[in-house]
């Protein structure tokens, strides 16, 4: 993985949580996408991508998240985001309509709670 971003993962029951530290741009978006997909199994009902430590996200990253959400939806899996607000990333998410395509939470506990409340 490039020095631009680091990806840490943890599991909450069957739900993988991926925390992206650093920057996502055209040079590493594909690599990060591959890492995220590798965290999913057939038993996963959802995945949370935590962008609260992400310092840069451009259209390459936005496109990645849209595409990933579509893939998961087709397998009855859900993608949720954690984005600090206010933050430049939150404005990007709003600007591109990403927040209307998938659930976006301010904190990880909030995202996990939402999944428990609405396990469908």
């Amino acid at each position: 993985m490039s020095t631009l971003a680091r990806l840490e993962d943890e599991w909450h029951d069957e739900v993988p949580v991926a925390r992206v530290q650093g920057e996502i741009d055209a040079s590493n978006a594909k690599e990060i996408g591959d890492r995220l997909r590798s965290l999913l199994s057939n038993r996963s009902v959802a995945m949370i991508v935590d962008l609260s430590a992400t310092t840069y996200l451009d259209s390459a990253g936005i496109n990645l998240l849209f595409t990933l959400a579509e893939e998961m939806r087709s397998r009855q899996q859900r993608l949720a985001l954690v984005v600090a607000d206010p933050s430049p990333i939150a404005r990007m998410v709003a600007l591109t309509g990403l927040d209307r395509a998938m659930p976006v939470h301010r904190t990880l506990p909030e995202a996990l709670g939402d999944l428990r409340d609405d396990p469908a």
């Binding site: 020095t3 680091r6 741009d25 055209a26 840069y56 430049p88 404005r91």
Partner: protein, 717 residues
């Protein structure tokens, strides 16, 4: 007998004054100087025959190999004596009795006398006179004359011949001594030639042979010169306690099995500890540790220490499969060869170590510093002039994310391969911890713990800092290292007042802390090792002050700055200690920056960081910086995608500020491609949402995207 001899002496003294002797005397004296023995004897016989009017004359000398025999050595008139190698036992016959009786003998009539030598009769000799050749009371031969007509040799004839014989005896003795000396000299010349041959091998070897090949060649030479069956070299291990078989001929198993002999024990061990040659005539009855020597059936051994400047570096020994008494000459020759070999081995090892060291150092230090837009860097490394060119100084410079740089300089105490390999480990480890995203103090904490674990009792000083060009900020951690020097934009230089923590590797309990410093655009930071400022006989403060003043004079450019430091701070470019210098300059960014980039997604981060820094310098807020950067990157990402077309290998970013308006033009020379795929067209709407205006112009030459945005606050100047 005593009286007759005493009388003879008196008479001889009287005779010496007589004229006929003069010629003889001259010959013998001249002869001492330069004639070879055979020529001398021939000359003497001529004179004797002439003076005594005899038909024959002959010298018989005591045989070199058998002192009970006389051997004909020179003859006149009866040359057959010499040709046939006539030998007469002392005490028998005419000459034998002269020698045994140590008295002159006169034989008036050969027919009625006890004559052993048939040649004398065959030649028709009728009368004989013989006298002993004496030197220091010792008989060395007989001189006799003969006539073909009967003659009564008179006492005067007898005394005259005796005088000639005494003279001749001295001359012969001298000549023989001279000859022995010459043979000895020739023998020693042979030894010199052999040694020279050894020397030639070793000298030539220095140039190109590896240590292994050199040792092999030396051992072959030793076996050949000393006619031995085996030869082996054991080298002293680094700890100085054990000898290890390093090369062997005839007993190759020594090396294959890695034979180790403790110093002080056994044959080789004792040679090393006693630092002297040892000869073992019979291995069966000696203290020989190495079972291989017995197994191979070696009977006799000769070994000598390999010494360099009085220090034992190993042992060279030769052995034979048949019993042999090694002579002192063998011993001296082997020691002579060993002395040369020791030097050659020492040189070869140094050379090899240096070669490895240089190759290692080349791979250990960054060949090319990472390039950062808006940052100039230069580095120098000079190994110490003495010893192996292998030092423990190091420097490094690498990206650590978000446009920041990790910068390090360190100095491992010590030299040689251990120091260099440790330097390599430290450098790699520091990078790894830095990449993991740890703050500087944490990176150095971990580095210290790693070092204490890895190499207890090794000390290293180092300074590690991060530079955030956008924030114009330095975070510095010092582990016992000299303070970094900073040249301000106005050219003044000062040492950053960094409080140093303890050196690395001293204690696991050490804690490191980072200190923050602002770095104004246009400033240069210089990191260095103490080899730059430490001059023998000078206080450290003086060296530091010289460096500071030099930096104030030569601050224009990092490359020329480094050159000036090497030139002025390091005497003759040959430092006493290793020298490492790393200079990093934060280039000031003006109202307009024009940069050209290869069309590769990997450059986007670097471009982004430069743009951020430029925008912040012009008073943009965090949100503005983010928006403008993202918009610009979208345009650049397009340029990268267009790179498939000819001429699309690079694109240009032209950013300028007029008052509060920011304009960025991104030009590529590729071919515009319509966005494909469901999510590919997001770039253009994003740019339009983020900027006040976006203009795209397609020309035959390529595409230009012009982005504009007015900053809310900012610096209007």
């Amino acid at each position: 007998m005593e009286t007759s001899e005493a009388r003879g002496v008196v008479r001889r003294e009287g005779l010496e004054a007589r004229v006929p002797l003069a010629a003889l005397q001259r010959v013998t004296e001249a002869a001492l100087a330069h004639l070879a023995l055979d020529d001398l004897l021939a000359e003497l016989l001529e004179r004797v025959a002439e003076v005594l009017h005899s038909d024959t004359a002959a010298f018989l000398l005591v045989d070199d190999e058998d002192d009970q025999m006389l051997r004909a050595r020179a003859a006149k008139g009866i040359e057959e004596e010499v040709e046939q190698g006539v030998r007469i036992p002392i005490g028998r016959g005419f000459a034998g009795r002269v020698a045994a009786d140590r008295q002159p003998i006169i034989i008036p009539d050969v027919d009625h006398a006890d004559i052993l030598n048939p040649i004398l009769r065959e030649k028709g000799i009728r009368s004989l006179l013989g006298v002993p050749l004496m030197v220091g009371g010792r008989v060395i031969g007989v001189l006799h004359v003969g006539t073909l007509t009967p003659r009564d040799f008179t006492p005067e004839d007898r005394d005259l011949l005796q005088v000639a014989a005494d003279r001749a005896a001295l001359a012969i003795d001298h000549a023989r001594l001279f000859e022995r000396e010459r043979r000895a000299r020739e023998a020693s010349d042979d030894a010199v030639r052999i040694v020279e041959a050894v020397q030639r091998v070793t000298d030539a070897a220095l140039a190109y042979l590896s240590t292994e090949d050199l040792l092999g060649a030396l051992l072959d030479r030793m076996r050949e010169i000393l006619h031995t069956d085996t030869a082996a070299i054991l080298m002293l291990e680094q700890d100085g306690r054990v000898l290890r078989a390093r090369a062997a001929k005839g007993i190759e198993e020594e090396v294959e099995q890695g034979v180790r002999i403790p110093v002080g024990r056994g044959f080789a061990g004792r040679i090393a500890s006693e630092r002297r040659p040892i000869i073992i005539p019979d291995v069966d009855h000696a203290d020989v540790l190495n079972p291989l020597l017995r197994e191979k059936g070696i009977r006799s051994l000769l070994g000598v220490p390999l010494l360099v400047e009085g220090r034992v570096i190993g042992v060279l020994h030769v052995g034979t499969l048949t019993p042999r008494d090694f002579t002192p000459a063998d011993r001296d020759l082997l020691q002579l060869a060993a002395d040369r070999a020791a030097l050659a081995i020492d040189h070869a090892e140094l050379y090899e170590q240096r070669r490895v060291a240089e190759a290692l150092q080349r791979t250990l230090l960054p060949q090319q510093l990472a390039a950062f837009a808006g940052i100039e860097t230069a580095a120098r490394y000079l190994p110490a002039a003495q010893g192996t060119s292998l030092g423990g100084d190091w420097y490094d410079l690498f990206p650590i994310g978000r446009g920041r740089l990790g910068i390090a300089v360190g100095d491992v105490v010590g030299r040689g391969l251990p120091a260099a390999s440790l330097m390599a480990q430290l450098r790699t480890t520091l990078r790894a911890y830095a990449f993991d995203g740890h703050p500087p103090a944490e990176v150095v904490d971990r580095l210290n713990r790693m070092l204490v674990y890895l190499r207890p009792a090794t000390m290293t000083t180092a300074v590690y800092m991060t530079l955030d060009p956008e924030r114009e900020a330095l975070q510095i951690v010092s582990a016992g290292h000299p303070q970094p020097l900073v040249i301000a934009p106005d050219g003044s230089a000062r040492f950053l007042p960094v409080t140093s923590d303890i050196a690395l590797g001293v204690t696991r309990a050490a804690r490191y802390h980072e200190q923050a410093f602002a770095l104004a655009p246009g400033s240069t930071v210089i990191l260095y090792t103490d080899g730059v400022v430490e001059v023998r006989g000078e206080a450290l403060d003086e060296g530091l002050e010289r460096l500071r003043l030099l930096a104030e004079r030569a601050h224009e450019n990092v490359e020329t700055l480094c050159d000036a430091i090497i030139e002025e701070m390091v005497a003759d470019g040959r430092p006493a200690d290793d020298v490492a210098i790393l200079a990093v300059r934060l280039v000031p960014l003006g109202d307009r920056i024009v940069t050209r980039w290869p069309a590769d997604a990997d450059v986007l981060a670097n471009l982004r960081h430069l743009l951020r820094r430029w925008l912040r310098q012009h008073g943009a807020t965090d949100d503005e910086i983010y928006d403008i950067t993202v918009a610009c990157q979208e345009a650049c990402a397009n340029a990268v995608e267009h790179a498939y077309a000819p001429g699309g290998e690079a694109f240009e970013v032209d950013a300028s500020r007029t008052g509060r308006e920011i304009e960025i033009a991104i030009r590529d020379h590729g071919q515009w491609r319509r966005a494909r795929g469901a999510h590919r067209g997001r770039g253009m709407p994003m740019m339009e949402a983020l900027m006040d205006s976006v203009h795209v112009e397609h020309t035959a030459d390529g595409t230009v995207v012009v982005l504009r945005r007015t900053l809310a606050g900012g610096d209007d100047a």
